[in-house]
Symmetry: C2
Subunit: 263 residues, 2 copies
């Protein structure tokens, strides 16, 4: 098998569809946007889309799979989003039901799929600029925290913002603000730099999701809005059914990261 | 009456609500975002919001008035959007029915209001940087053109992008790209600079909407996506009922232009 980093998005999705790739997608089809998935019943779709519209930092919409469609028409028109993610999770009334590699049987015409940007996009920009990404260095998951920053309510959806954290020097933090400001539609600039208590985080070494990472001397924690937020908010209303990707098992789009840079 | 430019948004909306200001809002409450209005039946709301999401340059959503609400909860929570616009237009099945100063009797709980960004926001940035705005100099409406650039379809909504045009020198055009790139959520950077035929405009002196303006020697036309696009696209599907603002008679929000700058 050739280097997964050089797969085209279509090649990667084909492997996944044929169950020849049933593992996380980090490092696959480098340079292309990978997205979180949240599938909800149609009657919740307007409120959820409005929630994302009002909270673009934690909930950057990449594309939407319209009722009856199998593909996101802009992000990957040749895909089948019911089979092209290596691992899905199914929830009923907010309770985890199963993990599966194919949701064709479950996903019906009354559901709408939302593809939501993930931090892989801006991490590429950070790496290119030699800003360290500690959880990659330490080969673990990014630490994530529930904050005291409220999202803007929309319809029945509301809740606190979840953030991810990357430690770096203050000089690197300034560069990181510049780099990620170029990508307002995939989380954009940080939401906070420095003292975690200000945003309601009591113990930086005890994240709510993911793993704790080393913060070296003279480093400050830098916080970005995290794509876990919309899933958490949606789960909170206990929808009849909800389908998501399994953590790290993302949908690979045909869109290049650089297309999402506004500068 | 004090200088309208210095009105607070709440003061301006009160005057309008009490019918003491029944004229265009250009130059009122300077520095605050003014918005286009499009009110549609609830059953079209998801498709329309998705259309705007997919076409952020012509259709930048500022806020949404949810079914049953009278105010946009983020943009102006103390407003009454059924009375706070100086002049509305009502359409039934795509046909103009009436112009009115109050839509309280018409707007019911089955409708959703969309506030869409207008070019006033980035024109302020251009003026501050001494980039000329010819239609202001010539005291007429901005020239607008239907292009051959297709919007991205969403549900039943589709159609060509409408653009507005401002002529300037090539040097000013470069500055204008920089200035308007700061505002991706109110039309953002231009969609085209130079030869109008490339985007399907046959006669630059014969705009589809608004007025023709002088293009001086050594000036090039610079085109921005225009907020007329979503209204034109919505009208095209002939909704049972649709309410809009009358041209130039905008909704004044509590949000400052600068809040919408990403840099």
């Amino acid at each position: 098998m050739s280097n997964p980093a050089h797969f085209s998005p279509a090649e990667a999705r084909k492997l996944i569809r044929e169950k020849n790739w049933v593992k996380p997608t980090s490092g696959v089809a480098n340079g292309y946007i990978q997205a979180n998935l949240a599938v909800l019943p149609k009657e919740l779709a307007f409120d959820f889309l409005l929630f994302c519209q009002r909270n673009p930092k934690p909930c950057p919409i990449i594309d939407v799979i319209e009722p009856g469609d199998v593909a996101p028409q802009v992000a990957a028109p040749s895909a089948n989003v019911k089979t092209d993610i290596p691992k899905y999770r199914v929830y009923k009334k907010g309770e985890f039901v199963e993990e599966t590699t194919d949701v064709t049987e479950i996903w019906d015409e009354n559901m709408v799929g939302f593809l939501i940007g993930c931090s892989f996009t801006f991490e590429e920009a950070l790496l290119k600029n030699e800003v360290p990404i500690r959880h990659i260095e330490e080969n673990c998951n990014v630490p994530m925290y529930i904050t005291n920053i409220p999202c803007v309510k929309a319809g029945i959806f509301e809740g606190p913002m979840v953030v991810s954290m990357r430690p770096m020097t203050e000089k690197q933090a300034i560069r990181a603000v510049q780099l990620t400001s170029r990508f307002p539609s995939v989380h954009g600039a940080p939401v906070h730099i420095g003292n975690p208590e200000v945003i309601g985080i009591k113990d930086i070494h005890n994240p709510d999701f993911g793993d704790s990472v080393t913060i070296k001397e003279r480093e400050v924690p830098v916080f970005w809005a995290c794509g876990v937020t919309p899933q958490a908010v949606a789960m909170h209303v206990k929808p009849e059914i909800m389908i998501t990707h399994a953590p790290g098992h993302m949908f690979i789009t045909d869109l290049k990261n650089e297309q999402f840079a506004i500068l």
